[in-house]
Amino acid sequence: MKDAFGAPQSLLILGGTSEIALATARRLIARRTHTVWLAGRPSPALERDAEHLRELGADVRTVAFDALDCASHETVLGKVFAEGDLDMVLLAFGLLGDQARDEREPLAAARIAQTNYTGAVSAGLVCARSLQTQGHGSLVVLSSVAGERARRSNFIYGSSKAGLDAFAQGLGDALYGTGVQVMVVRPGFVRTKMTAGLDAVPLSTTPEAVAAAIEVGLRRRSETVWVPGALRVVMSALRHVPRAVFRRLPI
């Protein structure tokens, strides 16, 4: 069960090697979390990440999960929920892709859309139902500021996150009053392996900062969390910039 400050005791991470997710797990283990499930494609990296979390004192288990294989989500996630209540599910998988290549190769672009959106819709709904049955828990969805307004430079990734963001908001409304909280997290540019090699932008942030913001969001029972918080203001301004101007902006 979560405590009065929203700190969960058990945690399921979908996308077990995500740096933001792992930073969040480390932070929550230092508070109350003693059980962590890392769901992801089986790999030595996943096992290594599990081992690192074990060293912090948590009971960490890994489970084979493929976002693209929607047909398996019920079975795989059903087994995890059958083992006991989960106080928090962190939906953290996602692909950034390479915009220039993906524009040339529609199949690669479709794979990004399927992972970031379709996979998340399927896994999100499976988890939401289980959380609703247990009457409590948080579904934390890692969206992105890129989904707030698609930019020329990464609209494939951005549009998939826009879809995910809208889905998560709607799901949150559907689950209002059921004891389940859906929290949409919109980080800006996060310095991780996903963004390695890209030029950093102003207001860029770190996985640790996102993790800290998630913890605060849980305490406040927030519906939306921006990281850093200043992005909320920046994006609400950018949202209203006319398209003709927006497409010329150096962002």
């Binding site: 405590d3 059980t35 009457g135």
Partner: protein, 492 residues
């Protein structure tokens, strides 16, 4: 209603194997929609099906039908944390079971349903010259809740906790049977303070306190700091039936722990002015308008609470004796404002109450110092001296010092800070109060409550299927300690 489910119809105590069974053909009023439920502190909402049994038979049917995620009884929802929540399961709202069955006005006992509130009992009993033996800071708790949390009041140093005045109660257990539980039995001691996890209390017989009037004669004095306060309490507590101190936890430096000490006795008839003597047992609690349902976050910050505390301290007389106060004014000042818990805003608040034994004063001093230094905006922090403990296995009071304070839950870093205080309390063999807890680390529970394993064993025997479950019992692993480490489900 069939005679065999009426409390008191069978005065012999039924041993567990021959527990009586309620009839099985009763329909249960169940809301199919799950509703969001929280404790009084309004933190950590979870959803549950709310069931309102109107008879013992309906309660028994509800327990039998509560499903895989179990059920828990709930009274007026004054437990601050998650004790009367049950995510995904059933919550039995007991407030429709609210009959006062028998009042023995000669011997001073009352037999009533568990859903009867102390407020109702006062309305019924005061005109007859009787008062409830123990009342906490609110009248809006049920008799069932008072037993389940083994509540205490300002008279603990002399009168002990609520269970000391309970002669017996009827308990609906997981098998659907109803047992009469008498004092001195393991089931009695497991249930008093057992947070509803041994069964649903249906009715109880409670011993009452005779009073001549419905007024309290109150002495007030100020203490300049914590040591002054503790010295005054130690030296003079035994002379007063009721004794409590309000501490200003925002005061720092030399005035750390400055306090207003309030003592009271039930006023004898001859202490009343002539006018009041005409109706010496009148009980007419007034109510102010309820707190608004929306309150902006952070209303109770350090500045507002600091100002309030300053005024409250200055307002109190340095020393005054024999002031006549009404029962609501002396015992239940906050009951005058319905829904006062809303003033903490959407994030809610936590109440932190701990006790440390005599000889552990240094721990109390250190904790008070830490709270003042940190500047926790807490108004109405209360210090009191407990007397002899009662035998409830998970009962909170023990001889020593107890401090209770409300803190807004949205204070950054509060979780970690309170964890550190828990460590200090546990190191001093003290404990925190489960009826108020919403955040204790489960690992510390066994240290704070040494009879926890006995409680778990009795529960495993009495309720092997885990019918009685609450969010509190899940969070603190009151049923069984977590099965860690566990083998992995699948490894690649």
């Amino acid at each position: 209603m069939p005679a065999d489910t009426t409390p008191g119809s069978d005065t012999g105590s039924a041993p567990p194997p021959t527990a009586r069974h309620a009839p099985r053909h009763v329909s249960v009023p169940v809301t199919t929609e799950a509703v969001s439920v929280t404790g009084w502190g309004r933190t950590a909402p979870t959803a549950a099906r709310l069931v309102r049994p109107r008879s013992y038979a309906e309660a028994a049917a509800a327990v039998r039908m509560c499903g895989a995620r179990g059920g828990i009884a709930r009274g007026l929802g004054r437990a601050y944390g998650d004790a009367a929540q049950n995510a995904g399961g059933a919550v039995l709202d007991m407030t429709d079971l609210n009959r006062v069955h028998t009042i023995d006005a000669i011997c001073g006992t009352v037999l009533c349903d568990a859903g009867v509130s102390l407020h109702r009992l006062m309305e019924v009993l005061l005109p007859l010259g009787w008062f409830v033996p123990v009342t906490p800071g609110t009248r809006y708790v049920t008799v069932g809740g008072a037993i389940g949390a083994d509540i205490h009041g300002k008279n603990h140093h002399g009168s002990g906790s609520f269970s000391r005045h309970v002669l017996s109660f009827e308990l609906l257990t997981a098998d659907g049977g109803i047992r009469t539980v008498d004092r001195g039995t393991p089931l009695f001691d497991a249930t008093t303070g057992g947070m509803g996890l041994t069964g649903v209390i249906l009715s109880a017989t409670v011993r009452l306190l005779p009073v001549e009037t419905s007024l309290v004669s109150v002495d007030t004095e100020r203490a300049t700091d914590l040591d002054d306060l503790m010295a005054r309490l130690t030296a003079t507590d035994h002379r007063h039936r009721y004794s409590v101190a309000w501490i200003d936890l925002l005061a720092r430096g030399r005035s750390t722990g400055r306090a207003v000490l309030t003592r009271g006795e039930h006023a004898p008839l001859d202490a009343l002015p002539a006018r009041a003597r005409r109706q010496p047992l009148a009980f007419r609690p007034g109510r102010l308008p309820a707190a608004p349902s929306f309150v902006p976050e952070g209303l109770l910050g350090r500045t507002t609470v600091g100002l309030f505390n300053e005024l409250w301290y200055r307002r109190a007389p340095r020393a005054r004796t024999g002031e006549l106060q009404t029962i609501p004014a002396f015992f239940h000042p906050l009951d005058g404002v319905p829904h006062w818990n809303r003033v903490y805003g959407r994030a809610g608040f936590v109440q932190y109450q701990f006790v440390v034994g005599h000889g552990r004063e240094e721990t109390l001093r250190r904790i008070v110092r830490r709270i003042s230094e940190r500047g926790c905006p807490s108004f109405l922090a209360v210090l009191k001296r407990f007397g002899t403990a009662d035998p409830g296995w998970l009962s909170f009071p023990m001889p020593g010092w107890t401090l209770a304070l409300d803190i807004p839950a949205n204070l950054p870093g509060l979780g970690t800070f309170l964890d550190e205080l828990d460590e200090e309390v546990a190191r001093a063999d003290g404990r925190v109060y489960l009826a108020k807890d919403a955040r204790l680390r489960p690992e510390l529970l066994g240290r704070m409550y040494p009879r926890l394993d006995e409680f778990r064993r009795l529960r495993a025997e009495l309720d092997p299927g885990g019918v009685f479950t609450s969010d509190l019992s899940r969070r603190l692993e009151l049923r069984e300690p977590a099965r860690r480490p566990t083998p992995p489900l699948s490894r690649s």
